[in-house]
């Protein structure tokens, strides 16, 4: 684990970047540092691997003061991922990933073999190893950066706004990848971001820092949304926090109703209610409004697009959103394979919430 004990950083020009920060990042968990610019989150991160040294206070990794180790040696045991990836342009992707193993003395063959393994772990094709960073897209470069950080299997991973420079679609994919990797590898991760939604999605614990480098709140994301410590945290967390909190509430006990269905490719008689059209594999393809007349076999043109899908067993937020976004008032519930399970009703989601609150 990583412990900050009253860590302060004052720069020569008088600014205090970090002010008596004390917190503990637990082993095997993702701890996120989040806050507006000037809150000292990057400075704090960079003090862990001694890219910057504190003015006061101490940082411990597994009860060892980081200042007692030579910085270069310390950093070889810590993975470090930065926003622009910082890949070495003059080396191939494979050699980039093999950097730390080579530094600590592995043979070239062993290091490259390990690098190839890691490319697979981060979801890149093996052929990419022979390319140069300039030939990769931003998202691919970030993945290589993560692979490079993981190459020597360090117990600690530091990530400084690693996904901020890529577009939102790619960013979501990378976030999901990180969560998947973490579930397999269980590293101690300290992650810096300015995006509160990213913090809530990724963090096991979130530290909200305010300008001047002071800690405003250090709590699991659920608690951050439910009980923000003060006005700053509450406004930083943003609107809709009641709704967003639903991501953390499970949907056990939510009733799933059978839905009227029609099959694509078969004739559909007019009905007096909404019907869900499914394909051959049982996957929902859209809604057929009541009293529609369809000539011949049912095709997708006759359908109204459906709302978001709720995966059974997921959070109440998924269920509520499915119900709210559906044209028929029934949220569509599917299983892991995407096949229809049934329908959920918004009112019942809220009733379930109320009963949770009554119970606690």
């Amino acid at each position: 684990m990583i412990e900050f004990r009253a860590v302060t950083k004052r720069f020569p020009d008088g600014t205090t970047a970090v002010d008596k920060l004390s917190l503990t990042a637990e082993s095997g968990r993702i701890t996120v540092l989040v806050g507006p610019s000037g809150c000292g989150k990057t400075t704090s991160l960079r003090m862990i691997n001694r890219m910057i040294d504190p003015t006061d206070g101490t940082i411990f990794i597994d009860d060892l003061d980081v200042r007692t180790t030579d910085p270069a040696v310390l950093r070889r045991g810590i993975g470090y991922v930065i926003q622009q990836a910082g890949l070495f342009p003059h080396r191939t992707v494979l050699d980039n990933v093999a950097t730390v193993p080579l530094l600590i003395g592995w043979g070239r063959r062993k290091a490259r073999a390990r690098a190839a393994e890691l490319l697979e772990v981060v979801g890149l094709p093996a052929a990419m190893g022979a390319r140069y960073p300039a030939q990769l897209s931003g998202g691919q470069q970030q993945r290589v950066g993560v692979a490079r950080a993981l190459a020597a299997d360090p117990p600690v991973l530091l990530m400084d706004e690693p996904f901020s420079a890529v577009d939102p679609v790619v960013r979501e994919g990378l976030q999901d990848e990180l969560l998947r990797l973490q579930s397999e590898l269980g590293k101690t991760v300290v992650f810096v971001t300015h995006d509160i939604d990213e913090a809530i999605k990724l963090g096991d614990t979130v530290a909200v820092l305010r300008e001047g480098g002071r800690l405003a709140q250090f709590a699991p994301p659920d608690q951050l949304l439910a009980e923000p410590a003060d006005d700053f945290v509450s406004s930083f967390v943003g609107r809709d926090r009641g709704y967003r909190r639903l991501s953390f509430v499970g949907s056990d006990g939510l009733a799933i109703h059978p839905l009227r269905t029609v099959a694509l490719g078969e004739p559909a008689p007019p009905l007096d209610e909404w019907a869900l059209a499914v394909d051959g594999a049982g996957r929902p393809r859209g809604w057929l409004p009541p009293s529609s007349t369809v000539d011949g076999p049912l095709t997708e043109d006759a359908l109204r697009p459906g709302g978001s899908l709720y995966t059974k067993g997921g959070s109440l937020r998924g269920a509520l959103d499915a119900a709210l976004s559906s044209p028929s008032g029934y949220g569509v519930a599917v299983d892991q394979a995407g096949a229809l399970v049934g329908g959920v009703v918004a009112g019942e989601v809220l009733a379930l919430l109320r009963s949770h609150r009554d119970d606690s």
Partner: protein, 228 residues
Amino acid sequence: MIHDLVKYLSNPRNQDAVVHLLLVHIRLALVPLLIGLLAALPIGWAAQRYRRVRALVLGASNVLYTVPSLALFVILPSIIGTRILDELNVVVALALYTAALLVRPVVDALDALPAHVLAAATAVGYRPVRRFLTVELPLAVPVLAAGVRVASVSNISLVSVGALIGVGGLGQLFTEGFQNAYNPPIVVGIALTLALALVVDLLLVAGRSLLTPWQGQRAGRRRLVGAA
């Protein structure tokens, strides 16, 4: 040494000679600088705009710049009909040289102009020539100024080497001193060349600041890696 130097400088005939050589040197170095710059602007503009012109121009200027200037001084007369030591010969040769040197900075400077600024200028209603003169050129000044500074030092030094084949200017002090095994003219020549280069450089920097009032003094310090 100092004694000899003082003796040399207190002789009014020497003083006249030195001043005369300095003026010739200034003329021979700076007139081509101006001509070369004026020539490089339209050529560079064309090269930046049209791909084929660009490859041709950059290639030609590269070759021209590679040819030693002394060689140019000597060969040019056969082409333009002057004699080697004619001032016109030297000026033309150095103007060609300066133009070849400055074409690249002109192209680079125009390349670096932000596209949205140019788009805004066109949208406001500037026609191409006016846009070039009033928007593109001023913004290109910093990069151009750097190139002109290099060219000015280069020209000043080239005129002095020209003394080998008899070209006028401060270089003659070196040949005179060497032939008479007499130090003072050489020392005076070196000092004046340095002083001239310095003054011209300062003037160019001042000129650049005058032409770019929107640019303050930037420290431009890069962030250093922290511990070790």
